[in-house]
Structure formats: C-alpha cells, structure tokens
Amino acid sequence: MMGKGMKYAILLTGLFVVLVLAACSNGSSANTDGTETANADSKSTETKNTDSETASETTNSEEKLIVYTNSNGDGRGEWIVEEAKNAGFNIEIVGAGGGDATNRLISEKANPVADVVFGLNHMFFEQLQAEEVLTPYEPAWASEIEEGINDPENYYHGLVKQALVLSYNPEFVNEADAPENYLDLANNEEFAGIYQARDDLGSATAKVIVASILAQFEDTNGELGISDEGWETIARYYENGVQIPEGEDYFTIFASGDAPIGTMISGELAAKQEQYGTEPAFLHPEVGTPQVVESIAIVDGTEQLELAQEFVDWYGSAEVQGAFAAEFNAMPANLEAQDQVTDFQKEIFADVKAQDIDWAFVTENIDAWVEKLELEIF
C-alpha cells in the first residue's frame, strides 16, 4: 500500500530531525560545561572546549564571538561583521530589539550564549547590571569618552549618542504655530490630534520621552516620586496625542501629515529623510533635549573573556567609531572620533542642549511608571 511508505518516511524524518537537533545542541551543552570550568580553572580547558565545539560546527576554525545588538539594521550588522573580519575577529551578530535583547540576556544568565552586547541604551544596561548579567571591564578607550557617559563601575561604556529631538513637519505646521516642548503639547489644546505620543513603552524611545516629561515633575512625596501635576500632564499628553498604528512607522505618519509633530532619533534621521523625502524642523526646548547613549559591555560568564575584551577595545576605538559615524551618520561618544562626524550630525547636535535628567532616579522608577501608564493612563 502507498501509505506505508509515507508513514515510514514521516517516522524517519521525525527521528532524523530529532537526532540533528540533538547533535546541534551538543555544542551548546558543551558551552555549559565550558562556562563552569572556565570560571574555576585555567584557559586551556576553555580552549579545548571551544575547539570541540567549532569542530562540530563546520563554519569556522577560529573562535567565534557572539554579539547581541539592536543596532544591526540598515546594513550596520553586515558592516560590523565585515570590519571585524578585517581586524581579525570572527563575530556573529544576533539582532533583537532593545527590550527583547535585555530579556533574553537576563533569561540566559545561567547559560549565557552572548559574549558581548552593544547598542542598547543605558536604561537597559542599568537593568542588565542590576540583574548581574554583565562583567566589568575598562576598555583602552574609556578615557576618550565624553564625561558622565561611562558607568563609574566600568560595567558598560558609551559608543554612540542619540538625541531624541522634538520636531515638526514644516509642510504641515508653521514655525509660528510650533510647540515649545513636550509640556506645551500636553497643555495646549491646539496640538490635540496632531502630535505623536508613542505608547509602545517596550521601546527605548518611548521610555526616554516618558522619562523626559516625568523627570521634570520629581517630587519625593508624589506617587512613584512624581507630583500629581506630573501625572496629570502625562495623562493629557497621551490623551491628546496620536498613537502610532501597529505595524506602521512613526516617520510615515510624520511625513504624511497624520501626526506632523513628533520625536526624531538623530541616528536614524538621515536614512529616514532620504527614504521619505521629508525634512523635519527641530525644536529646542529650554529644558533641553533628552539624549541617550548606546553602550557596550561584556556578558558575565563568557568563555572567551580575553577575546571579548580585545573586541571591545577594538570596536569602541576612535578609529572604528569614527568610521561607523561616517558610514551611518551617527554621533560617536568617543571625543577623538568626532572629527569624522558628518555635517548632518554636527548640525543636529550643534543646537541641542542635553536635558539634565537624573538617570539613577529614572532607572529606579521607570518600570513602575510604565506599569502605571499601561494600567491607569492608557
């Protein structure tokens, strides 16, 4: 009968796949062993383990670094892999959003897959540090970074600065009618329905905007450290604002005029402008513009600590960060790389005054704020 052959075919495929999966994961369970011994013992066992692992995987004979990042889009990932290869590093990039990457690192704490993580902003790094996912290391270039950016305990160090610039689309909003700052948007009825109020609080951008608003209402007696006025303001901000529909980009509705006032991210701006042909006009609130720093850190429990350190030393150096800035229109935190910054970035940052936010206070409370927003304000 015909079915017989098929039945066995399926049985066989099933078994085969199970076996293949089993074989593949041998590599990772070797990791576990490796971690334990590497922590306790010398480097020789470590190398042996990795050798056996790479032998079972056919891709490469060198030691491979696993790098988690959220900054791999638009060709960045490919560029970094290529440059690293030229510098003698064999890396594999695992891309995930900031929140996803953070959750993943925390859940893998006991059996880390990643060696290095970079690109997340300092709020995520604070969380990772608190969860004891990172191991401290002071890179060679640590002193070249703008002051106040690096973690004083050397858990993470800055790479790229992002300014979250409140902007409007001059095709739809006159300069005279433009708002002054986030509070203006919330308090002034005439902006109702034309500005973006991002409610995707899993994303770093939305969180920073929330922090930027709430930090102005710090009140030790208020709920979660914020005064009642602060809560009322942010409630109004979200009530009058336009939420970005699921699956759409903030720049799309900014460009189309559906919500022509919104927050631009300095590092993405050049690509967006080119894609949509819309040039935003920037606003410079008195209180300042919130800035976040994308940083780099080494994951605690990596089997290739030395290699990871070498990679961090290389990647954060003025040379590499300068090249990256030139290639992708970014603003490096490394002061010595700033001569390679594009005019476009220079222009953005020229007028931007950093908002003075007490990040320790924010990091401590942001999760509770988000929870309150999700539950009571939305």
Binding site: M2, L21, N103, E371
Partner: protein, 572 residues
C-alpha cells in the same frame, strides 16, 4: 485467564517505564514551570501578597480588556459556528455549483494564519486599500479607518477561525448515515427539517469540541486585536505580552493569565458537562455515503448560491491581495494603487539575495517536523494509556495535559525561561535556557491539548474488537499498535500532525522567548525584517515571506491529504 493477562499488562515493564516518563514530563514541563511562576507572583517577596491583583482591579483598562476578551470569545462562538457550519454545508452537504473551487478558498485559512492573515485583511479592508478608496469615493464622509474596533476584529477572526470546522466538521458530516436522511425524507420531512432535526444533532459532539476551541481562540486572541482593535477595543493577551516583557511587571502578566485560565476552566467544565448530555452512540452498522442534496426551493437555492459565493470572495480576497501585492513595488503597497508599472519581482530577489535567507526556513522546518512528530507521538502514548487504563491517575493526567489551554503561550514561555535558566533538580540539573531544546519543548507543550483531544477521540472511536482480534491472532501490544491501530487512526493523526506543523512554522509569540539566538526561526526573521527598526521595504518582505509560507503549507497539506484521499479511494 483474562485477569491474568490484565495483571501481566499492569506490570509490563515497558508500560511502567513509559508511565514514569509521562509523569516526569508532565511534572517537569507542565506543572513545575507554571506553578513556579505563580508562586513567584504571589510569594515573590517572601509573604503572600495580592498587590498585583489590586493593581489590576484599579485599572479600568485591564478590567475592560478582560471583559473585551470574554465578549470577543462569546461573539466568535456564534459567528464562527454559523460561518463554519455554512462552509461545511456548502462544500459537503448541499449541491452547489463550483463546490470544488469554493472548497479551495474556504480551506485557505489553513495555509496562512496569524500575522500573515491580518496583513491580508489589512490590504483588502485597511485604510489605503482600493475598497476603502472606493467607499470614500461614493461617500466622502466615509471614515478611512472604518475597519477597526470590535467589528473589524470580530470580522477577521470569524473568517480566520473556521479551519477546524472545515477539517473536523466536514469529516463528521461525511460520517452521517445517509439512510437516516433518506428515512427522514421518506417520512415527509422538508430539507430544512432534515438539516435541523437529523443532520445537525448528529454533528453536535463535534460542534461542542469546536465551540470550546473557538472560545479559547477568542479569549486569547493576540494579533487581530493588535492590528484591528485600535484603542477602543483592547484585549487581554496583548496586555499580557506587554507586561511579560518587562521584568518588573511579570507578576501582572501572571495574574492576567490566571484570569484567562480561570475563565477557561469555568467554560470548559460547563461545556464538558453539557457535552455529556448531548452525546449519542451511532447505531448504524451499514453506513451509506452521503449524497449531496440539491436544494428544491428555487429562491432558497439561489440565495444559498449567492451566500456561498460571497463567502468565496471574502475568503479569496486577502490571499489574492497578498500574492498580488508581493509582486508590486513599495509605492503600490503603501498606497494600495496598482498600475502596470507597479509589478516587479525585486521583492523576491531582495528576500533571497543570499543563501542565508534560506536558513530560517530550514530551522523552522526542522522544529516543525521534530516538534509535531514528538507531540503526536507523546499524545498517542497518553491516549493509548488512557484508553487502556481508565483510572484516577489517567484522568488526572488528562486534566494536567490541558494546562497549556488554561495559560497563554506567552506565559508558558516565560515560565519555561525563568524556571530553566538555573539548574533544576527536576531535569537533572540541566540548564535549558540558551539551548535548542527549550524551544522544542515549548512547541511540544503548547500543542499537547489540541493534539491529545484529537488523538483521544480517534482512539476511542476504534472498535475494541479489532484490537482484541489482533491480540487473539498472537500479535503483541506493540505490533498490534503499529500494524493494526496506527493505520486506522493515521488519517486523523496526519491531519493533526500537519496542523501542528503549520502552526509551528511562523510562530512568533512563543518563539521569541525561547529560541536559540544562533538558530533563528522563521517567525523571528519575519518580525525582524518587518519590525519598526528596519527601514527597507518591510511590508514587501513580509508579503514575500507570507507567499512562500502559503506555498510551503499548501505543499504539506496536499501531500498529507492528497495522499490520504488516494488511499481511501483505493480501499473502496
């Protein structure tokens, strides 16, 4: 002799070993992680605390979401059953012209679901779709965002959730003894009376099962409310997702999930009780095959044809839209407006610009094959034991295996990662987080309840005498199972196998928590390629991925069902 044999069976070392394996598996992967999560929620600080519950009760949004989910589930029970029954009648019971083409479109929900399906409906009914443009043209006051809220979610899910009807209700209908229909006709019953009093009551047990599944689907709806619900219609699962992603709010996610679980348990208990009342035993020994009924009343006949073809259009448009738009440029996709110049194959070239693009497919295929194979094997084993030994232990097992139905997959995933990221004695101090196994275990777990229900009902449908006959002829239990029982249940088993497989391929909700970062499955790739962070023509890529998935799934289904149909014909 008989008692002797039974005693021997009871002490069969293989059975004991397998039983211990099942008990261990259920405890280690179904009970332990979830209890662990729940314990952490209420005793996380060391003392029992109801703070998360209070927090949620204070939130209008949370309470409203729970109510919305229940409302959606109730609405879907009615709409999905109405549409589902209609589809099955149109394709299997009434003599409708062009039924084979209708069938093809009605089956389309089997080959694409979740995110892809929503994308299809968005292309057809969304803001920039040709349909909306047309509506605004005839009525300038027409709201471009008309397709949102409860109506839109209900609409999309009504047509999206009929796959199980098409599969299981159709086969139940085919099992109706045609002589009963003839008898009713002979006794003077009209066509509508026959349908209402003879045919539908026979389908009642299947309809009960489908109703439960529909209710659960509605309760835990994720992607449709996210895409079409908007602010005015939020449901509970997206909220759970949000909270589950934030480490400090995981307790809220757990509590919300528990609410879902409790509602589910209540509904299940209620339904199971009324299911027992509605049960019947088929008594016909010689069944005659169903002959399609021509509708005698001309007006009704025309009306039924019209409805059948309206459904055809509703089912076909989203698939067609996905396929057509996947061949157009970004401009056409975002504006909805297609000209001759819009057509291009660049999207496909872009997707497959490198060999790397094939890797996620292979990984997901691997997980699909292995995952559904293992879950089917596991459920077969459980069902077999349950049939053989109906005692308190197996009844408890039956209930335990339903746990994944009580909890949303997101929470199961969180439970797994949180529990197995440290050494656990229950799995011999292995750490599963960061290995390939975790995702495989996850896929197995979430597919257990449905698979078990199907395998169980198939198993219990086999005449005991057949098994006895094989044993009487000298076959041992294993041989009997492989040579006699398995071939009988194979059609259902293959059906559920391919359904699981198709479900695993594009999964995101569960996968994102559990996958090994170096082995990225398809769902993750699609999400990364289409998420907000990527600025390229993400929608076009999504469409291409969807089309390829549709082709893959169609191939799998035709392989399975085409083959079985062939078998059947040979048997006759």
């Amino acid at each position: 002799m008989d008692t002797l044999k039974n005693r021997w069976n009871k002490w069969n070392p293989v059975t004991i070993l397998l039983s211990f394996f099942i008990i261990w598996f259920v405890f280690a992967f179904l009970v332990f992680p979830n209890v662990n999560t729940i314990y952490e929620t209420f005793f996380g600080t060391g003392t029992f605390s109801l703070e998360p519950v209070e927090k949620l009760l204070r939130s209008d949004r949370a309470v409203q979401s729970v109510l919305n989910s229940i409302l959606l589930a109730i609405i879907l029970v009615f709409t999905v059953n109405i549409v589902g029954i209609s589809l099955v009648l149109f394709t299997n019971y009434f003599d409708i012209k062009g039924a084979s083409i209708l069938k093809l479109s009605y089956f389309s929900t089997l080959v694409y679901g979740g995110v892809a399906l929503n994308l299809g409906y968005k292309l057809v009914y969304g803001k920039n779709s040709p349909l909306t443009d047309f509506l605004t043209q005839i009525n300038p006051n027409w709201d471009g965002n008309w397709f949102s809220g409860l109506f839109a979610v209900g609409f999309v899910m009504t047509f999206a959730c009929t796959s199980n009807h098409m599969l299981f209700l159709s086969s139940a209908l085919r099992n109706v003894d045609y002589q009963t229909i003839e008898a009713a006709k002979n006794l003077g019953a009209s066509q509508i009376t026959i349908l209402k009093n003879v045919v539908l009551p026979t389908l009642k047990p299947t309809l009960f099962a489908l109703t439960i599944i529909t209710f659960l689907t509605g309760l835990s709806a994720t992607s449709a409310p996210l895409v079409f619900g908007g602010k005015e219609f939020e449901t509970i699962t997206p909220m759970i997702l949000t909270f589950a992603n934030s480490s400090s709010s995981k307790d809220l996610a757990t509590v919300l999930a528990l609410v879902l679980g409790i509602v589910t348990i209540i509904v299940l208990t209620f339904m199971l009780r009324s299911e027992q009342k509605g049960n019947y035993i088929s008594i016909s020994k010689t069944k005659t095959t169903l002959v399609k009924q021509k509708i005698n009343n001309k007006t009704v006949n025309i009306l039924v044809h019209i409805i059948a073809y309206i459904l055809f259009i509703i089912y076909t448009m989203p698939v067609l839209a996905i396929i057509i738009y996947s061949f157009t440029d970004a401009m056409a996709i975002s504006s909805g407006f297609i000209t001759w110049d819009s057509f291009t194959i660049d999207n496909y070239l872009l997707t497959f610009s490198s060999l790397e693009a094939v890797r996620p497919y292979l990984i997901s295929l691997g997980y699909g094959f292995a995952g559904s194979f293992l879950v089917v094997a596991f459920c077969l084993l459980c069902a077999y034991l349950m049939k053989k030994y109906n005692n308190r232990l197996t009844r408890t097992l039956d209930f335990m295996l339903m746990i994944p139905w009580f909890l949303p997959s997101t929470l199961i995933a969180v439970g797994l990662t949180v529990t197995f990221n440290t050494n656990q004695w229950v799995v011999l101090n292995q750490v599963f987080t960061g290995t390939l196994w975790l995702l495989l275990i996850g896929y197995i777990i979430v597919n257990i309840p449905f698979t078990l229900r199907i395998t169980k009902s198939t198993f219990f449908g086999i005449n005991q005498e057949i098994e006895d006959a094989a044993k009487n002829l000298g076959a041992n239990a294993f041989y009997t199972f492989i040579k006699v029982l398995l071939p009988i249940i194979l059609p259902s088993i293959m059906g559920i196998y391919s359904l699981n497989f198709i479900g695993i391929l594009p999964d995101y909700d569960l996968t994102v928590f559990l996958y090994h970062p170096l082995y990225e499955p398809l769902g993750i790739t699609i999400m990364n390629a289409t998420g907000n962070s990527a600025s390229a023509d993400t929608k076009a890529l999504n469409l291409v991925y969807t089309v390829i998935l549709v082709i893959l799934n169609t191939m799998i289904l035709t392989a399975v069902y085409g083959n079985l149909r062939f078998r059947k014909r040979k048997k006759v």
